[in-house]
């Protein structure tokens, strides 16, 4: 019963918001208090990390707004922004914030957008389950390990007490936002990463790699670690304030820094003129915390969602311009 009340409450909140918007927006074709009267098409593309959250939202949204056709693609954050800034998609999923050159591409094409943070993910550093030595790394060692032409070939190069076994590195491929975030955070902006690691766009391949190699070291999203805790060990990160291991708490409260990262959706201003997109985004912000947890991420703090909703409301009631695409 409680879940019914929760759902009902949430649903009416979304409807109330949408109805309120419909009154003020020019495209007020619907004043019904019912998502099922909506029609149209919503196209989403972008990060394969954020994709599952948007898919979960689409799944729940479709249950109520059955005449709205939602499609979610997973071209990667970079590939998705190309389409988004060409005006091909309505909702862009991003596992990092938009880059300057992408913002410029959007501006050049006249695509303005709103940015909403929808969840948190903790990039998790992992080693083989039999590796009990490497339990914590400081940021300097992590940088040393992954930088271009890295001198670190064995564990002993990172810590004299560790064995002199060669390290086998695994990481996401270069088209993923996860890769971009990791490089920027660990190595610094404009830095290059070493080339002798095994890349894969499929995180399960990375899991397999690390799980079957005693001297492997890899990184990927927290969800893939949680599902494979039996065959992997997570390595804590020491950013100067002691070793912090990734967990739902440390990721959400930001102590698992700097590898806990926000996940975003970007919504085109032009698309937000359409009632079905307004309803979808309102629904998204309302459900994001719960559904993100369902698919293995960590909900953002409540005030983040509150700020998201305010941003949407302000924009739709004509209060604010969308993020100027400068």
């Amino acid at each position: 019963m409680s879940s019914f009340v929760r759902k009902f409450g949430r649903r009416s909140a979304a409807i109330a918001l949408v109805t309120a918007l419909a009154v003020t927006s020019t495209a007020s074709v619907f004043a019904q208090d019912d998502l099922s009267s909506l029609t149209g098409e919503i196209i989403s593309d972008g990060s394969s990390t954020v994709g599952p959250i948007t898919q979960a939202v689409a799944e729940e949204f479709a249950a109520e707004a059955s005449d709205v056709q939602v499609s979610v693609d997973i071209s990667g954050t970079g590939g998705g922004f190309k389409r988004f800034c060409a005006g091909e998609t309505d909702v862009q999923n991003a596992s990092r914030a938009i880059k300057e050159e992408e913002a410029k591409a959007c501006a050049d094409a006249g695509v303005k957008y709103l940015e909403f943070e929808v969840a948190y993910d903790g990039l998790t550093l992992v080693v083989n389950e039999n590796n009990e030595t490497v339990t914590c790394l400081d940021m300097a060692s992590l940088t040393k390990l992954w930088q271009k032409e890295s001198p670190a070939m064995t564990w002993a190069d990172l810590n004299a007490e560790w064995p002199a076994e060669p390290i086998a590195l695994y990481g996401p491929g270069t088209d993923s936002g996860t890769f971009d975030y990791f490089v920027e955070t660990v190595l610094g902006k404009e830095s290059e990463i070493r080339e002798d690691f095994t890349p894969s766009e499929d995180d399960n391949v990375l899991v397999e790699g690390v799980a079957n190699d005693e001297n492997a070291f890899g990184y990927f999203g927290y969800a893939y670690y949680v599902e494979n805790e039996d065959s992997l060990n997570a390595v804590a990160v020491d950013n100067g304030e002691g070793c912090v291991a990734p967990s739902e708490e440390t990721i959400q409260d930001g102590t698992y820094a700097p590898l806990s990262r926000p996940l975003y959706i970007y919504v085109s201003e032009e698309s937000l003129a359409r009632p079905e997109v307004q309803a979808f985004v309102a629904f998204y912000l309302d459900m994001a915390g719960e559904l993100a947890t369902d698919v293995g991420f960590v909900a953002s703090p409540d005030d983040v969602y509150a700020a998201d909703v305010t941003e949407l409301e302000t924009f739709l009631t004509g209060g604010a311009e969308a993020t100027p695409a400068s």
Binding site: Q55, I74, D202, N204, A223, E227
Partner: protein, 295 residues
């Protein structure tokens, strides 16, 4: 000299040659087993992983973040749309091309060039067709990432194979049949349409179905021309967005939860069954044809 020449071949180094033959028999058997064993291992692992997830609602449910109620209904229907449209486009164009090349074209330099080109096109990697489709159908003809753009791309992909197999079927029609029709004053088109095509049809259909089943399993070109990873709806027009079985399988296989690996395996089983069904139809057509044809 004469010794060598008169020595019977069968006894020169007989034992050595026999040993070599026996050794080769084992090597050949091993070579054969590599493929068979790999296939069996693949099937066993897929079936053991996927069988628990096979159910009726796998076929009739929409995809879901909850593994126990996830299904591949839109992917199944999307695949049907794509292969049906592919067949509707590739079949007439392929058969007409084959009729032209076999029954009309003069055997000269031009037909040689066309022939070589078709044979080469059959070997072009499928992702190249995807890029072609993206440029021509999605962007230039502005069809967008629609089911028709996907089907047209697939039609281009299977066309060379359809043409080649149709030509073989047409070539298998005995020329006495043509001569008889010509003798009665039939035109070239009448001979082709009234006599050659009906006789060759089962063979042509076999080729078409086999190439369609190739299209069913293709993923690379459809990723390029924009089959979505997830849709909440079924295609309802030629310009609809869509997804297909291989995309759904890929989408599930990259999920973190182990349950989805099982679902991916179950999806592979569904795809394999569909392929077997199509191939069975092709075999049935062929056997029917060989029973009926008498001349």
């Amino acid at each position: 000299m004469s010794d060598l020449a008169s020595a019977p071949l069968s006894t020169t180094g007989l034992r050595r040659r026999q040993r070599w033959s026996a050794a080769m028999a084992i090597i050949l058997l091993l070579a054969t087993l590599v493929g068979v064993v790999a296939l069996i291992a693949l099937l066993v692992s897929i079936i053991s992983q996927g069988a628990p997830w096979l159910s009726w609602h796998l076929l009739t449910n929409m995809p879901s973040r909850k593994a126990e109620k996830a299904g591949l209904y839109p992917a199944l229907i999307g695949s049907m749309w794509v292969i049906t449209l592919t067949a509707l486009v590739a079949f007439p164009i392929g058969v007409l091309t084959a009729v032209y090349l076999e029954e009309f074209a003069r055997k000269g330099r031009l037909s040689k060039v066309i022939e070589v080109n078709i044979a080469n096109l059959a070997g072009v990697p499928s992702v190249v067709y995807g890029l072609l489709g993206l440029g021509v159908f999605v962007t230039w003809l502005d069809l967008g990432r629609s089911v028709i753009a996907g089907a047209l791309t697939m039609a281009l992909l299977v066309l060379p194979v359809v043409i080649i197999s149709s030509r073989e079927a047409i070539r298998a029609v005995p020329s006495s049949l043509r001569q008889a029709a010509f003798g009665l004053g039939a035109t070239r088109w009448q001979v082709a349409w009234d006599h050659v095509l009906p006789t060759a049809l089962p063979g042509i259909l076999t080729g078409v179905i086999l190439s369609i089943s190739r299209a069913l399993g293709e993923t690379a070109p459809l990723i390029v021309v924009g089959a979505a990873a997830y849709v909440t709806f079924l295609p309802d027009s030629l310009l609809s967005k869509y997804t297909v079985l291989p995309m759904q399988i890929y989408e599930w296989s990259r999920r973190p939860k182990d349950d989805f690996q099982g679902l991916a395996a179950a999806g592979i089983i569904v795809l394999l069954l569909l392929l077997l069904l199509l191939n069975a139809v092709a075999i049935w057509l062929r056997s029917r044809a060989s029973r009926r044809v008498r001349w």
